[in-house]
Subunit: 315 residues, 2 copies
C-alpha cells in the first residue's frame, strides 16, 4: 500500500499541472506566452504533495484531492508573481521572474489574471465552505505581505514579528488546505484544529528550512545563495543571531551584510548560533507535525508520513 | 412612483458605500488608512446608479440589488488601483492615486487585498450563476488591460481595436451586471441578451463621453484636462480624426501631442471631426440603450429611464 501511494504521487502531480494549465489557458497571446513560461518551471508543488499524502491517508476522494491541490497551487502561484514585483526579484528558482522578463505592467496584470482564474475555480467548487476557507487563506497571505513590507529594508523584525509574517505568508495556506481535507470529510472541530495545527507547523518547518537554504551553496539547494539577504530580507538565522550579539557585534554584522561580504555574515551566524537556533526551531515544528500525524492517522501509517515529511524538507 | 425612485437613489448609494466599507474593513493599520482615503473619495458610483434604475424598474428585490451594486463597485474599484499603477497616474478624480501617495508596493498589495475581498463577497452570494457571471467580468477587464498596454505609448490602435478595449474594460462589467439582474429574475435567454446589449451600449456611451471630457475644461467636467493624452492614451476623438488626415497632417498632430501643445491638438480634432465622430458614436449607443429600455421595461417607464440615462451621461 505504501509503495503504491508513492507511485501515485508522480501521476497526481502531473494531473495537478494539467488541471492548472487548463484553468489558466487563454486566447490572449501575451497571457499564453507567460503561461507557457510558467509551466516550463512549475516548481516543487510541495502543497500538492502534502495534500496527496494526508488526503490519501485520511481517505478523501481523489477528485476532491485534485481540486484542492490545484486551487492551493493556484493561490500560491498568484501571490508569487506579485511577490517578485514587491521584492524586485530578478530570479525565481534560478529562472528569470515575470517582472524581469516581461516588465512591471505585464507582471502586474498576469498576477491579476491568475487571481481571477483562481477565484473562478474556487467559486466553482461545490463545497462553499472550502472555497471560503481558501479565499480566507489568500487574504492572510496578503496581510502577511503588508506586514513584511513594513520591515523590508528598514528595520529587523523581532522574532515574534517574523513568525507572524511566516504564519500568514506560508503557514496560513498549509493550515487552510489541510483543514479543507477535514471539511471535505466532515471532521469534528477538534480534529479540524489538529489538522490546521499540523499544516501550520509544517509551514513553519518548511519556511525555516528555506531560510537555512538561503545560506547554503546553490549546487546543494538549487536555490540562489543569499537571495533573501540581497533583497533586504532578514530571516530567522539573522534575527536569532542578533539576539545573542552586543550592539557592536550587530553593527559589524550589518556592515558585512551591506557590503555583501557574505562569507563574514556566514561565519557570524555560525558564531552566534543563528543556524543552530533555526534548525532547533525547525526540528521542533517537524516534531509537532509528527505528533499530530500520529494522532490523526494512526501509528503505522504515521511512520511513513514522518519519513515523507523529513524527505520533503530535505528536498 | 417616479419621484420616490429618484429619492431612493441617494439612500441606496449610501447603503452601497456602507456595505463596501464593511467588506473591505481591516485590522491592519496600513490597509485601514488606505480604506479611509478611498472612502473619502468614493467616485460617482455610476454602476450602482444603473443597477438601481434598471433593478427597480424590472422589479428585483432591494437586498439583491444592493448585493449586486456592491459587488460591481468592488470589482471596478479593485481594477482602478492597479490601472493607476499601469498608467503611472498621479491623480484620479483630482485626488492623488494610491501609488502616488503610498508607493508601488502598497498600491499593488492594496489592489490584491481588494480583489480577495471582492471575490470573497462574490463567493458568499447565494446565487452562484451571478458570482460566476461577475468573475467573468473581472477576467474580461484584465484581458482589456492586456490589449491596452500593447498599444500604450507605442501604436495608435485602430478604431475597431479601440472599441474592443472599451468593450472589455468598460462594457463588460455594465453588460455583466445588467445580465445579473436578469439572472436573478429568471429572464429568458432573449431578454438576457437584450439586457446585456443595453449594458454594453451604455458602457460604450459612458466611455466615449469620458473620452470627450478629457478635452474639456476641468471646471466643466471636474476631471483633469488632457489626462488620457498625457498618459499616452489615444482615445476615440484622436483615433477617429486620424482616419480623416493625410500622413503629413497625422505627423503634425503627433508632434503637437508630443510637445503637449494641447490647444493645437484641440483645434485639429475640431477640424478633422474627431469630436463630431465621437459624439455621433456616443449618441448612437444612447439611442440603442433607449430602444432596449423601451423594449424591456415598457414605454411609460422608459421615458423616465431615457431622461435618466441622458442625465447620467451629462454628469
Amino acid at each position: 500500500m505504501k509503495v503504491s501511494k508513492v507511485e501515485n504521487l508522480t501521476e497526481f502531480l502531473l494531473e495537478v499541472k494539467e488541471k492548472m494549465a487548463q484553468i489558466v489557458n487563454s486566447n490572449d497571446p501575451d497571457i499564453s506566452s507567460i503561461n507557457a513560461y510558467i509551466f516550463e518551471h512549475p516548481g516543487k508543488l510541495i502543497r500538492s504533495k502534502i495534500i496527496q499524502i494526508f488526503g490519501t491517508h485520511l481517505g478523501i476522494k481523489k477528485v476532491k484531492m485534485l481540486e484542492l491541490a490545484t486551487a492551493s497551487e493556484l493561490i500560491h502561484l498568484s501571490t508569487l508573481i506579485h511577490d517578485d514585483i514587491i521584492d524586485e526579484a530578478d530570479l525565481r528558482r534560478g529562472n528569470e521572474t515575470i517582472i524581469k522578463k516581461w516588465g512591471l505592467k505585464q507582471a502586474l496584470l498576469y498576477g491579476d489574471y491568475l487571481y481571477t482564474k483562481t477565484f473562478s475555480t474556487l467559486n466553482s467548487l461545490d463545497n462553499q465552505k472550502i472555497a471560503k476557507r481558501l479565499i480566507n487563506c489568500a487574504e492572510e497571505l496578503i496581510e502577511g505581505e503588508f506586514i513584511q513590507i513594513k520591515y523590508h529594508q528598514q528595520d529587523v523584525p523581532s522574532l515574534s514579528n517574523y513568525m507572524e509574517i511566516v504564519d500568514k505568508k506560508t503557514g496560513a495556506l498549509f493550515k487552510g488546505m489541510l483543514e479543507c481535507i477535514g471539511l471535505e470529510l466532515n471532521f469534528s472541530v477538534n480534529q479540524l484544529l489538529k489538522l490546521g495545527e499540523l499544516g501550520r507547523e509544517f509551514g513553519f518547518a518548511f519556511q525555516l528550512n528555506d531560510d537555512l537554504a538561503d545560506f547554503q551553496e546553490e549546487r546543494v539547494t538549487g536555490k540562489e545563495s543569499f537571495k533573501d539577504l540581497s533583497e533586504g530580507k532578514y530571516t530567522f538565522p539573522i534575527i536569532s543571531s542578533i539576539k545573542n550579539m552586543t550592539e557592536l557585534e550587530q553593527k559589524n554584522l550589518f556592515s558585512a551584510i551591506n557590503s555583501k561580504d557574505y562569507d563574514v555574515v556566514y561565519k557570524k551566524l555560525v558564531e552566534f548560533e543563528g543556524f543552530k537556533c533555526t534548525r532547533k526551531a525547525r526540528d521542533s515544528s517537524v516534531q509537532k507535525c509528527i505528533e499530530y500525524s500520529k494522532d490523526l492517522i494512526g501509528l503505522d501509517d504515521s511512520e511513513f508520513v514522518t519519513e515523507y515529511l523529513t524527505t520533503l524538507l530535505k528536498a
